[in-house]
Symmetry: D2
Subunit: 358 residues, 4 copies
């Protein structure tokens, strides 16, 4: 089930070491200027090999558009975006073809499907997320038309939490740090883990700025529920919070409730969502990523035939998936928001008449 979204939706295909990866975006409104430089720019933020904090795999991640465009504008028909794989080193994976790497999906894919493409994790590789970033870039082009922004960055590494949330600073940091004062420390922590042949966990903060009121379709397509699904479905994500999140559960109602004035809400503990519907405040989401399961230390596992063994992994990996994960989380948020924008259009007869009025 490789499709996400209901009205604005996308499907992805492709494996880490296959010929190509890509996505088909369905439900893109006609009349959007499809700025390919912008879309490529979004992919460049996530692409591997950028610096020492990312995997060394070299992929230009050059994206091509195959359909849905005419004279530079979207036509309302499906947009197909494709990225051909270039730097597969499948032989790196020969030594794991018969074994199940701890923390990876090797075991579950093999058991579920009875076959697995072991090369680079196949379909379960985070390489798939490039397609999400491509689709998310198209989503952002739509959000731009309505002056809605989505921003992200890293807010925690290895248990050290940032205090500042500076979305302007993050793009300048090689690890998209949201807290300038923690940036260097976090970098050191990541490199230390990397140099120890280990990996390290982290968390990201995504914010939607200037959302319209009314996004989210209760009861089972609530904005927070779908954001949770979007975020938890990212490789290595293990927890999702909206607004004050886990902390909200530690408070009293009198502390947590956001009181209201004519200028808006007096606080934003809710993270901009009430009853599954956006209330016009910033939408705040946090996603927690486990450390990359690919580590180079010796680990115990079993092979396909059920034999126990110890092994050491080879290959090229991110020491902290939260870093590039922040770009993916941002893309997923943009995709959810656009879907919700389109779905919300028919919430009242008054809106319908606006569209069909002559």
């Amino acid at each position: 089930m490789n499709k996400f979204g209901r009205r604005f939706c996308f499907s992805t295909f492709g494996e880490s070491h296959g010929k190509a990866i890509g996505c088909l975006i369905d439900g893109v409104p006609a009349g959007i200027k499809l700025d390919m430089d912008f879309i490529q720019g979004e992919l460049d933020r996530r692409k591997p090999g950028l610096n020492k904090f990312a995997t060394a795999r070299k992929e230009g991640d050059k994206v091509e558009i195959l359909s849905g465009i005419f004279e530079g504008y979207s036509t309302g028909t499906p947009i197909e975006l494709i990225i051909f794989n270039k730097d597969q080193k499948s032989k790196d994976y020969n030594n794991i073809k018969e074994i199940f790497r701890p923390g990876h999906a090797d075991f579950t894919y093999y058991e579920k499907y009875g076959i697995r493409d072991y090369r680079g994790g196949g379909r379960s590789s985070a390489r798939e997320t490039a397609s999400r970033v491509a689709a998310g870039a198209v989503a952002k082009l739509i959000l731009n038309e309505l002056n809605i922004e989505v921003k992200s960055g890293v807010c925690e590494v290895g248990g050290v939490t940032g205090k500042d949330t500076d979305f302007l600073y993050a793009p300048q940091s090689p690890i998209f740090a949201l807290d300038k004062n923690k940036d260097k420390l976090w970098q050191e922590m990541i490199l230390k883990a990397k140099n120890s042949h280990d990996s390290i966990g982290g968390a990201v903060h995504v914010r939607v700025k200037n959302p319209p009121i009314g996004l989210g379709e209760p009861i089972y397509y609530k904005l927070d529920a779908i954001l949770a699904s979007a975020m938890m479905g990212i490789n290595a994500a293990k927890a999702v919070e909206i607004g004050d999140g886990i902390n909200a559960a530690k408070t009293l109602g009198s502390q947590n409730n956001d009181q209201i004035s004519t200028k808006g809400f007096l606080s934003n503990n809710s993270g901009g969502i009430l009853g599954g519907i956006s209330n016009g405040e910033n939408i705040d989401i946090k996603v927690y990523f486990k450390p990359t399961p690919s580590i180079f230390m010796e680990q115990k596992t079993v092979d396909k035939d059920g034999n126990e063994l110890s092994f050491s992994l080879k290959g090229r990996h991110d020491p902290c998936v939260a870093v590039r994960g922040s770009v993916v989380a941002e893309a997923m948020a943009a995709l959810v928001i656009v879907d919700m924008l389109l779905l919300n259009m028919s919430s009242k007869i008054e809106n319908i008449k606006k569209v069909y009025a002559n």
Copy 2:
């Protein structure tokens, strides 16, 4: 969008002070003995008015089955379950009909739809969750046939976290406490909040025992992603964790990876899910609930006409929604697992041949 699930799915209807609430369950396999006592028993666990930790509203929550059953067994056609509302006290809400209660969905529903049923929160009331518990009970009848169990309880109140996770003890506690040693303290904290005209947050732990390997449909219907959506969509939920959750983000890969032996995984930090697919270990989910927004202290808000005002709420409310929320979270988990069980059946041609073999 009031439907949840793809193959085994349910839709709910009804408002807090309407004539009835209920659900239509679609995709129930034929041949399940529909034990109405069991279904009623599940509703009784969640029903209001049980004790001083729940709202004082008296609802028997007597459930009736209107379709999909023949001679006691499911027929494969939709099962309609209905609960007539009995103890609406709509006049309690007269004083809030023009104002937006902080922390509630009043504002967002009104803005989205241009109209709102203010009586008891209308559709946004947690009363809707009775329908989920009813549907969840049917899901559990299916899980029973495959010896899969789903359990839940409260694991944290007001920031005090339990150490024990005793699913056998929880049913004996009036607040479904998972830690016997914290039960009394938690009860006191809840009553203290209640007596102060306040409310308090809390968290619940849900565990799926003995799940088959292979549940979850990557990439966009992963088991963890859909569980996250199911949980975050429960009223007042603000965060969801799978397995070690937020804590996983604070560790190193060498600590977090679950190594594997011939007897299974040597630890279960993953919470039983790898790559979005169950690995056969227990599935562990935690859900964090904000304090009930309904508090009786004076709060600032605005009315429909944009006037600022202060008000004090009346009515009957849960002082800690996490308590009854645990029953709802358990039901949602059961519903997700059954859906995934049915979807997974066609993962490989070998399974298809098993079903269609003559």
Copy 3:
């Protein structure tokens, strides 16, 4: 899979001899005045026992609304409509509980589900279509707001095709005849079949007047494709035509193409749909119904244990299902059109801006 539609959608439940039948309508825009007299009036057109051309079963088909309404208007939350069954005579079916009636779904339901509710055909009974008419009535209330009309009537009985298509006359005819000059003959043909313990086939014509241009979502949710699905899914329907239909296949392009002038299309062979999208002309659909399979003549069949036997059916049945089928087809068309209206709203960025403009 008891749900129809994507954005405006409904799910039905209930069996012929169960406690109740009904539907949950999801995606109804807020702000629609829910005229219960109109809704009941639509059901009255379809209800059994009206005259000698319909089954003698007496059902008032009194519809109740359980949710989604506040002070007479839709609130955007699901609308539950319910009809309690009153005149089940289940004992009429005792003699067929072990056998499969030719032309009915007895055999296929039993084989598929391993169990069947034999009373009145259970879920496969045309009684289910009352729920569609109820949902269709709500759809029509929305269409009224946009001055779109849906009309229907009988255009053929037993191979005798009408020449006139008079949607104003049809409501006056006890068999909804569209051709005043054929009305009496058709009535005689139906009664002759009935008196011979037989049944007779027929066809209906549905027309959507004043549809907006642009309805239909290519490539796999085209207006004609979904209308075809909606119509073919009605009990006893065996063929569907759009516009000139089968006749179009017998012509040359120069005859079939609808040429265009500034006043619109010069003909309407296309039935108002080009490329799966409405072109603003009337939408014309024809549906062909087989004769009711319930006949009282002796027929050969087998029982559950595989024994051959002959039997004669008892009970109360329509001699020509096309008659009441026309009301159902009309309802289904209304439901499709509303769904398409909502889906089409996001076809271009210009429409989105209209809704979200401040």
Copy 4:
């Protein structure tokens, strides 16, 4: 909405004169040998330029597989199939860029989206159907595993109906004629229309042989309803019949009912479907195609600015779309049947236990 199917489903992309067309197939069970020669062979049956009965456009329609395959077998992950366009002659369309061709989707696409790719009809071109044939070929590989066959051919041209239905003969005919005795006449009729700068309508017959009993998901995903949608959604289709279809509406119940013996049904007027579920007999579907709207005779139309004009079309077109349409209809039937096969697996608890038994 460019996706078809629920459990086994595919999405297509691409325009007639874009870079490529293709499809993403989701839900393919793992373990299917993906015979690329077979898939290419299916495309070769539909490809343009084969003979004088098809458009002269030269497309090799060479299909590539980009994902979802490992060592020759399906892995359960999405299969992406792509065909690069080679022989676009976009300048042929310069003269129609401002005008709306009668019988085509030019007008409706332009009105719906506010923009249209006029080159070769853009997305509305029948070129899109190559993707369906590619997806259908994968569906057939699954059907092969269960010994289910899908066959098709032309059964009517220009109002001349065949008497024989010879699925073995059809592949030998350049127009896939099902009646050997009509083959030559039909060819002459097509060429006569072509030489007169006109086009001609026709019909096709699709048969599913050896289907399992139980396919189809009442009430709103019935086998016949979904087949109707699948067929009516093919370019130029205007009518669909199941079994005796329109003729059934002209008969009496005593003639139409298929009586039953221990050897099966004594006739097959139902076309193998009762109550929306397959009964094990052959499934028979007929699809009626209007004449190709692209004709070279002078026609009246309007341009984008609302000016009336006469014009003559240029370009390369099929004189009778039913011919290649038969291959597409066959593919769509295969796709529906596979989807239904997977959906039906969970119809009863007994099947579920077969899959999950240890």
